[in-house]
Amino acid sequence: MRPGPRSKAKEADRSLLPWGMGLVAALALLALLAPVLSPYNPDQQIDPVAGRYLPPGARRVAVHLRDGRWMLARKAERSGGNLLVERLGHETRLPLDEIVNLSPTGVRDHRYFLLGSDQFGRDVFSRLLYGARVSLTIALLAVALSAALGVTIGGLAALGGSWIDGFLMRAVDALLAFPRLFLLLFLAALVPSATWIVVLVLGATGWMSVARLFRGEILGLKGRDFVLASRGLGLSPLRIFFRHLLPNAITPVVVDASLRVGEIILVEAALSFLGLGVQPPAASWGNMVADGSTVLTSAWWLAAFPGLAISLTVISFNLLGDGVRSRLDPRSSRSATTSSAEVLG
C-alpha cells in the first residue's frame, strides 16, 4: 500500500480552510460595510428614464436641478447663459439658474455605474452590496434556527423515552422523504412573504437531518461511563444534558451547520428567483436575478452579476465548511449524502 492516501488527502482538504475563512471574512466585511462601500443609495431611482439599463462601466454626468430632480446626461457643457445637455440622444438647453451643481465648465457631479443600472435606474453594484446583507443574514439565521431546532428535537428524541423517540424519528423520516424545494414551495405559497418568514421557512425545513445527527451522538454518549457517573451522583437531567452531553455532541452539529450555509444561500436564491422568497423592493440576489431574467438579452448584466455574487459566496462557504469538517470531524469521510441529494434538488 502506498503511504496513506487517506491522510494525504485529508491534509489537502485542510489546506482549503484558510481560503474559505479568508473569503468568508471578506464577504462578511463587504456586507457589514455596505453603507460605506456602496457608491450610491441602492434604492435611488436617480433618473428613471435616461438612467435605466445602463451597461456596466457607463459614466453619466449628473445634473442636479433646483426642483430636486436629477438628470443623467452623456454630456453637459456651458454655452452662454445655458447648460447644453445631451440626454437620450437629444440636446437640450437648460437655464443655468435652474441648476444646483454647476462647475466652471459644466456640472460637478457624475455617476459611474460599475456594474450597470437596472430597470429603474438603480445602481446594480450598490444593490449587490446591500443584497449581500439580506442573503447572508437570512442564511446565517436560518442555519442557526435549524441547528437549534435540530438539537432540541434530536435531544428530546434521544432522552425522552422510546415512545417519543419513535414518534419524532418517524416524523423526521417523513419530512426528509420530501424534496426540500417541494416543502419550501408549499410553505412559501401558504404564508405571506416577508423576510423573517423566509428565515422561518428555511429553518423549519432544515432541522431534520440535524435532529437525526444529534440524536445519534447523544445515544452514543448516553451509555458512557462519565454520563452514568454523573447520573449516579444524582445530577439533574438538565444539568447532565447541558454540562455533559451537549458539549460532547455538538461538534458534528457545528460541522454540519458550516456545510449548510452555502446550501441555504442557494435555496434562498432559488426561492427568491421563483418569486416566493424575499420580495421586492428588498434586494436579495435571487430576486435580482429574477428581475434580470426578463430582460436577459437586452440587459445581461442584471442577471449575470447577482448570480456571480451568489456563486462566489456559496463557493466561499463551501470551502470553509469543507475545511471545518476535515479539521473537526474525525469521521470526515462520512460524506454529504443528504447534501448531495439536496444539490440535486
Binding site: 491534509e11 423520516d173 424534496p179 417541494f182 448570480g307 469521510s333 449524502t337
Partner: protein, 329 residues
C-alpha cells in the same frame, strides 16, 4: 429477502400515506383557497359561493378529506385540476414523461461524469491533480442552477444561436416524422439536461472519491495487492464495486429529486414537466393537482428508497447479509 422487501414496502406505504394526509390538512387548513383563482370583479359573492360548492370547498375539512381519499383509493380519481380544467391525472400524465426524459438524461450525465472524476481524484489523492478536481467539483455544486441556466441561454441561444432557449419541441417539429422529432427533442434537451447533470456531478464526484478512499484503506484491498493484481484492476473492479454501493443508494435517493430537482430548470427552460406544473399549482393553489403530485412524490420516495437499498444489497454482499439477518428470513 422477500419478507424484507414486503416489510419495507409496508412501512414505506404507511409513511407516504401519513405525509399525504398531513399535506392535505396543512393545505386546506391555511387561509385562502383556490377561488382566489377565479377572483374577478364581475364575479358576485353568490357565484363565488357556488364555485366553492361545486368543488366541495364548503364542506368541513374531515368531510373533504374523506371524499378525496375515497375517490383516490376506490376510483384512482384525483379530481379535476382547478387551473387546467382537466382531470389531474391527464395533466400529470402529460407532464410526467417529459420530466422523466429530462431527469434520466441528467442522471446519465451526472453519473457518467461524476463517477470517473471521483475515481481519478481518489487515484490521485493528495496530489495537485486531486486538488484541482476537488475545487472543480466544489465549483460545480456551488453554482445556482437557475443562474447557470440563464447564462447558458444567453450564450448558446442568443449570443451564438446554437441551441433552442426553451420548450421541448420546436414549431418545425410539429407533425414531423419520428427521426426529426427525436433530433429536435435532443437539441432541446442538451442545455437543461447537461446543466442539471453537470451541477450534480460535482457532488457525486466528491462522494465517490471519499467512498473510494475509505474502501482503499480496507483489508481486502490489501489482500488484493498481495495477490499481485494490477493497480487498475484493484481500483476499477475491487474498490469501485464496493464503493459504488453508497453511490447506488444515491441514485435511488435522487429519484424523487428528479421530480422536484428539475423544477427550477424546468421553469427557466419552459420545459413542460411536473416541476413547472407543481410551481404553477402552488402559485394558483390548485389543491387537486398539488395533492396528486404530493402523492406521486411520496410513491417515488418510497420506490426510490427501496430501490436504493436493493441496489446496495445487490452490489455489496456484506449489506445483503445484514439486511436478511435483520429481518430474520
Amino acid at each position: 429477502m422477500i419478507r424484507f422487501i414486503a416489510r419495507r414496502l409496508l412501512t414505506a406505504v404507511l409513511l407516504a400515506f401519513l405525509v399525504v394526509s398531513a399535506t392535505f390538512v396543512v393545505l386546506h387548513a391555511t387561509p385562502g383557497d383556490p377561488t382566489n383563482l377565479f377572483e374577478n370583479p364581475r364575479l358576485s359573492r353568490a357565484q363565488q359561493e357556488r364555485i366553492r360548492e361545486i368543488y366541495g370547498l364548503d364542506q368541513s375539512l374531515p368531510r373533504q378529506y374523506l371524499d378525496w381519499l375515497e375517490a383516490v383509493v376506490l376510483h384512482a380519481d384525483f379530481g379535476t385540476s382547478f387551473s387546467h380544467r382537466e382531470p389531474v391525472m391527464t395533466v400529470l400524465g402529460e407532464a410526467l414523461p417529459n420530466t422523466l426524459i429530462l431527469g434520466l438524461a441528467a442522471l446519465l450525465i451526472e453519473f457518467g461524469l461524476g463517477v470517473p472524476i471521483g475515481v481519478l481524484a481518489a487515484r490521485w489523492a493528495g496530489t495537485l491533480k486531486d486538488q484541482v478536481l476537488r475545487i472543480l467539483s466544489l465549483l460545480l455544486y456551488s453554482l445556482p442552477i437557475f443562474w447557470v441556466g440563464l447564462m447558458a441561454i444567453l450564450l448558446f441561444a442568443y449570443r451564438w444561436p446554437l441551441l433552442p432557449a426553451g420548450n421541448m419541441h420546436g414549431i418545425a417539429a410539429i407533425g414531423a416524422n419520428g427521426w426529426w422529432r427525436a433530433f429536435d427533442l435532443v437539441r432541446h434537451l442538451v442545455l437543461p439536461a447537461s446543466i442539471l447533470g453537470i451541477s450534480a456531478a460535482g457532488a457525486i464526484a466528491r462522494f465517490v472519491r471519499n467512498s473510494l478512499l475509505d474502501t482503499l484503506a480496507q483489508p481486502f484491498i490489501f489482500a488484493a495487492r498481495a495477490r499481485g493484481l494490477s493497480e487498475a484492476r484493484i481500483m476499477w473492479v475491487h474498490a469501485l464495486r464496493s464503493a459504488l454501493g453508497p453511490v447506488a443508494q444515491l441514485i435511488g435517493l435522487s429519484l424523487p429529486f428528479l421530480l422536484s430537482g428539475a423544477l427550477v430548470i424546468e421553469v427557466v427552460f419552459s420545459w413542460p414537466g411536473v416541476g413547472r406544473l407543481v410551481y404553477g399549482a402552488v402559485l394558483s393553489r390548485d389543491y387537486p393537482l398539488l395533492m396528486a403530485s404530493t402523492a406521486i412524490g411520496g410513491v417515488m420516495v418510497v420506490v426510490g428508497n427501496l430501490a436504493a437499498d436493493l441496489i446496495h444489497a445487490w452490489l455489496d454482499p456484506r449489506v445483503r447479509k445484514e439486511l436478511v439477518n435483520a429481518t430474520g428470513s
